[in-house]
């Protein structure tokens, strides 16, 4: 079955979630990937949304992190302060799935501002729950399309922390960046291309990156999406 680069990215992201794990999910690509995992190899994946839905089991993709279907299907529904304080902060959630407007080689993310903070070129939405997801989940997976508009050498603003000072945080931070071209993992603290999707050359990923992207000598190739994965994804996307 043929597939798009977005489908490959989403399938690759879904695969990193083991069955039974708990996953804090942002909206958009992260939510799609997490729901795909639940629909395929990880039926007991626990989806947690910052709106307070723990163990949500949506049958179609939610449009926001607070859709009614998430509340209706959740094992437990709690307040927003509780989801951050009792569930996220203590480090009891296995994986945080995040998107990013801009990120750097350390996995720092900027979703706040482009240009000067006081006199911005573009004002972005801001932090939301991302800083705490990045701080407190046992590990973080970033899902983002790879381009020089996103993969920056130097961020104008650090909204959530990557491989920097994590001494006050309970989690290990970003360990995986999954893009439409491949997968990056930290090597000596710097995100390095360790895997490419089928048909992608490492040079394409280097070209799409705003810092001098290191390429692993042990570069592997992602197995193509299976028919089952694609069927499940397309069914979800409705």
């Amino acid at each position: 079955m043929s597939y798009t680069t977005d489908e490959m990215m989403t399938v690759a992201a879904a695969r990193v979630l083991r069955d039974g794990a708990s996953c804090f999910v942002g909206i958009g690509l992260p939510s799609t990937a997490a729901n795909l995992a639940r629909a395929t190899h990880a039926p007991d994946l626990v989806l947690i949304y910052e709106s307070g839905c723990i163990g949500a089991k949506p049958t179609s993709l939610p449009l926001s992190i607070g859709d009614g279907i998430l509340a209706e299907t959740a094992d437990s529904l709690v307040s927003v302060p509780e989801i951050f304080n009792y569930w996220l902060q203590p480090g009891r959630i296995d994986v945080g799935f995040l998107g990013a407007a801009q990120l750097d080689r350390y996995g720092n993310i900027n979703t706040t501002v482009i240009g000067d903070y006081a006199d911005p070129k573009v004002r972005l939405p801001g932090a939301g729950g991302a800083p705490e997801i990045a701080a407190s989940c046992k590990q973080v997976v970033i899902i983002v399309r790879q381009s020089r508009r996103t993969f920056f050498d130097r961020l104008d603003f650090v909204t959530s922390v990557g491989q920097g000072d994590r001494s006050t945080f309970s989690g290990a931070g970003p360990q995986t960046i999954i893009t439409d071209l491949g997968i990056l993992r930290p090597v000596d603290g710097e995100f390095t291309l360790t895997q490419v999707h089928p048909g992608i050359e490492a040079a394409q990923a280097v070209e799409a990156t705003g810092w001098p992207l290191q390429v692993s000598p042990d570069l592997t190739v992602t197995p193509a999406p299976t028919d089952e994965e694609l069927a499940a994804l397309r069914k979800l996307a409705g």
Binding site: S51, L63, S79, P81, T112, V122, A127, E132, V158, T168
Partner: protein, 266 residues
């Protein structure tokens, strides 16, 4: 016991120029009707507080009601940017907008501290981010037992909090269910509160996952069916996603927005 009034009376009495005003509702139960009534009544110089200033705050900001925004995520969920918010921050249109920016956990805990009668809350967060450089309501605090450094944020105690709920009874006891967000904390933290409801009923039947706010902690209640539209009210109506998408086009252009405002303000 909360007083029951019309929306216009309640906004007129409870929301004053220069007030610190929180309209809360996390995706669900956003008090749109009350927000638009604030626009209609022409309030000015408000400090608007909200974790997720979405379309309703874009409308208030575009209408020139606000001089400051305290928030943690300002987007049009599932659609993109808030263009009136951006225009205010980037170009001071129609008036300059001061911002005080936090993360969701920081904002939630600021309401918790406010509801708890404490001057501050403690959390793990902000360390290593650029937020503390620009927001002076983020400070380090040391644990007196372990010596560990954590982060403190000050309480939020709005002059008035406005929320929308499914139901109230005739004594002004309020019941909301589904995703209940930070509404309880925002009401309990505030000096005054206004709750708009889908309907006023004789008896509040107990139901799963419901939060009940007793009437004696609510100042006024107004019956406003569809008062959360275009957001949703669980078991009443679903989110009007088309409205959110249409807002993108309206809000991108100052003239389009002015036309919209002329219609709403009438």
């Amino acid at each position: 016991m909360a007083r029951i009034a019309t929306l216009a009376e309640a906004v007129g009495e409870l929301v004053h120029d220069g007030d610190v005003v929180a309209l809360e509702g996390f995706t669900h139960l956003i008090p749109f009707a009350a927000g638009q009534e604030i626009i209609r009544q022409g309030r000015r110089d408000l400090t608007l507080v909200r974790m997720t200033p979405d379309v309703i705050y874009d409308q208030l900001i575009g209408a020139g009601c606000a001089r400051k925004l305290i928030f943690s995520w300002g987007g049009n969920p599932g659609v993109g940017s808030l263009h009136r918010f951006r225009d205010a921050v980037q170009h001071a249109w129609p008036v300059p907008l001061e911002i005080e920016e936090h993360s969701h956990a920081g904002m939630a805990n600021r309401y918790v501290a406010g509801a708890s009668g404490l001057p501050f809350a403690v959390l793990r967060g902000y360390t290593g981010t650029d937020l503390p450089k620009h927001t002076d309501t983020i400070k380090p605090i040391t644990c007196p037992f372990t010596g560990e450094t954590l982060t403190a944020v000050p309480a939020l105690n709005p002059d008035v909090t406005v929320i929308h709920a499914q139901r109230a009874d005739r004594k002004g006891n309020v019941q909301l269910w589904g995703i209940t967000g930070v509404q309880k904390e925002a009401v309990l933290a505030a000096k005054r509160s206004l709750v708009t409801v889908e309907e006023i009923v004789d008896t509040l039947e107990p139901r799963p996952n419901a939060v009940t706010l007793p009437g004696w902690v609510v100042t006024m209640v107004a019956e406003v069916p569809k008062g959360a539209h275009p957001s949703y009210a669980h078991d009443y109506y679903v989110r009007d996603n088309e409205y959110y998408k249409a807002w993108d086009a309206i809000s991108r252009d100052r003239e389009e927005f002015q036309r919209w405002l002329g219609e709403v303000a009438r």
